[in-house]
């Protein structure tokens, strides 16, 4: 026999169960007349851990969802996930690990032009959004991921991205130029005549 939950915990539980979208603690609080809901969220998360349904935080928003280990039972009749092309998957990963990032930056990593539709697919899925413009000549649009992205891929925050710390430590999220300078202690060869061949290669995708 367990002690029944207090009123606030019950209210938070009911609200999140009924909500059609994940909710931030602030949204929950404003729905519940301004009370601090964080202790209740923590209590519920702990309470549901190990059950068939769990309370998780994704990008600062809270949601109930089924336990991952039960996937095989639930997957059956539903294939709700959209199938992503390889290009879309790579672009999504590049945006997630580098955000905010411009299309040209994505292309310089992939070494290939990005088809128009690829970013559209990611934006339509609600995983990528325009995050403004980079303050450089041409003012290119920059892209970033959304809270829906975190929630779809089961990430509490971007720090949860698989291997992001290792990639960061290895300098693999830095641009080639920075990594090159770090390794050689030299400036790049932007001013050298021979740079053309290299640029042709690197910019392959940028010319869009």
């Amino acid at each position: 026999m367990m002690t029944p939950p207090d009123d606030l915990v019950r209210a938070v539980e009911a609200t999140l169960f009924a909500a059609e979208e994940p909710m931030t603690a602030e949204a929950l609080s404003s729905h519940l007349a301004g009370v601090d809901v964080r202790p209740a969220l923590a209590e519920l998360a702990q309470f549901y851990a190990g059950r068939g349904v769990q309370l998780v935080e994704r990008g600062r928003r809270w949601q109930f969802q089924t336990a991952p280990d039960l996937a095989h039972l639930l997957r059956r009749e539903r294939e709700q996930t959209r199938r992503l092309s390889r290009a879309a998957t790579e672009v999504l990963a590049i945006i997630a690990y580098h955000e905010p990032v411009s299309r040209a930056e994505v292309e310089s990593i992939r070494g290939v032009q990005t088809a128009r539709g690829t970013l559209d697919v990611l934006m339509e899925a609600g995983w990528v959004r325009v995050a403004g413009r980079r303050d450089v000549p041409g003012r290119p649009v920059i892209y970033a991921t959304t809270p829906e992205f975190l929630s779809h891929f089961g990430l509490s925050s971007r720090r949860d991205l698989p291997g992001i710390d290792e990639l960061k430590a290895a300098g693999l999220l830095d641009p080639v130029d920075d990594a090159f300078e770090a390794l050689t202690g030299e400036d790049g060869f932007a001013d050298s005549g021979e740079a053309e061949a290299t640029d042709a290669l690197e910019n392959d995708g940028d010319s869009a």
């Binding site: 169960f17 729905h31 996937a71 998957t89 779809h152 698989p162 060869f189 050298s192």
Partner: protein, 256 residues
């Protein structure tokens, strides 16, 4: 993805399928590099270049259409290879070693993102591995307006309605004027007598009597005389002259 296919000697169709399977020349290079089965930092760029060129050659021999960017990469790699083989003192700047290093860095970055993408897709995804509530009741917020109005605004509004709709009589007080007709008579009569330029003010009745000294009447007389002067000029009976902006206005008779 292309791993299995490229390890064995390919039949035509297998190779064809493969070329479509790469996301550009860098992707192909990365696949070839991975086949060296060593850390990307230790790959032999020369061996990689050879593999790539062989691959493209074979595709060409099989009359497969090879996209231009694959050929551009092939040309650049051929250049890189020859530079790497040249004696050191004949090398230009940047050194081919630097170019090779940059290529390696690019491959490492693409490889890292490829792996990251795979790990991302392998996570517990909503709708595939975990599921949200199937039939949430939904939260509804009904807006209710709390209308505000105070006593004074109410009363003032009524006052305004009444004031606005009350018939209003406009009274214009009588005041001394010189009519246009009398000004016209006076100016044309005086023009008939004088031949030289005269200032407009000199046409006004002299302020000798108390009436004509009244400032408002003088303003009216000046205005009417000015209009009279314009009218006479229009009729070709007078000429107007003004030496500077806002300066005195002169007129004289046009000789018949």
């Amino acid at each position: 993805m292309g791993e299995a296919a490229a390890t064995a000697p390919q039949r035509d169709d297998a190779l064809h399928l493969e070329l479509g399977g790469w996301e550009g020349p860098l992707d192909l290079l990365l696949d070839l590099a991975r086949r060296q089965k060593v850390d990307l930092r230790q790959i032999s760029i020369l061996a990689l270049v050879d593999q790539y060129l062989t691959f493209i050659d074979r595709a060409g021999a099989l009359k497969l259409e090879v996209a231009a960017d694959y050929l551009v990469m092939a040309a650049w790699l051929a250049y890189l290879k020859s530079a790497l083989l040249l004696p050191r003192d004949e090398q230009e700047d940047p050194s081919p070693e630097d170019l090779a290093l940059r290529l390696q860095l690019r491959l490492a970055r693409l490889s890292a993102m490829r792996e990251a993408a795979a790990r991302l897709l392998a996570r517990d995804r909503v709708g595939r591995d975990v599921f949200l509530r199937g039939a949430p009741e939904g939260l509804r917020v009904d807006r209710r307006n709390d209308w505000q109005c105070d006593w004074f605004s109410l009363i003032a509004a009524y006052g305004q309605v009444k004031a606005r709709t009350e018939p209003v009589v406009h009274m214009v007080r009588e005041r001394p004027v010189m009519t246009l007709d009398s000004a016209l008579d006076r100016v044309s009569a005086m023009l008939g007598v004088r031949l030289e330029w005269m200032e407009l003010r000199d046409f006004l009745p002299p302020p000798t009597t108390a009436d004509w000294a009244e400032p408002r009447l003088r303003r009216s007389a000046l205005a009417s005389s000015f209009v009279a002067a314009l009218e006479l000029a229009r009729l070709g009976r007078a000429e107007l002259r003004q030496d500077e902006i806002f300066g005195p206005l002169h007129l004289r008779r046009v000789p018949a």
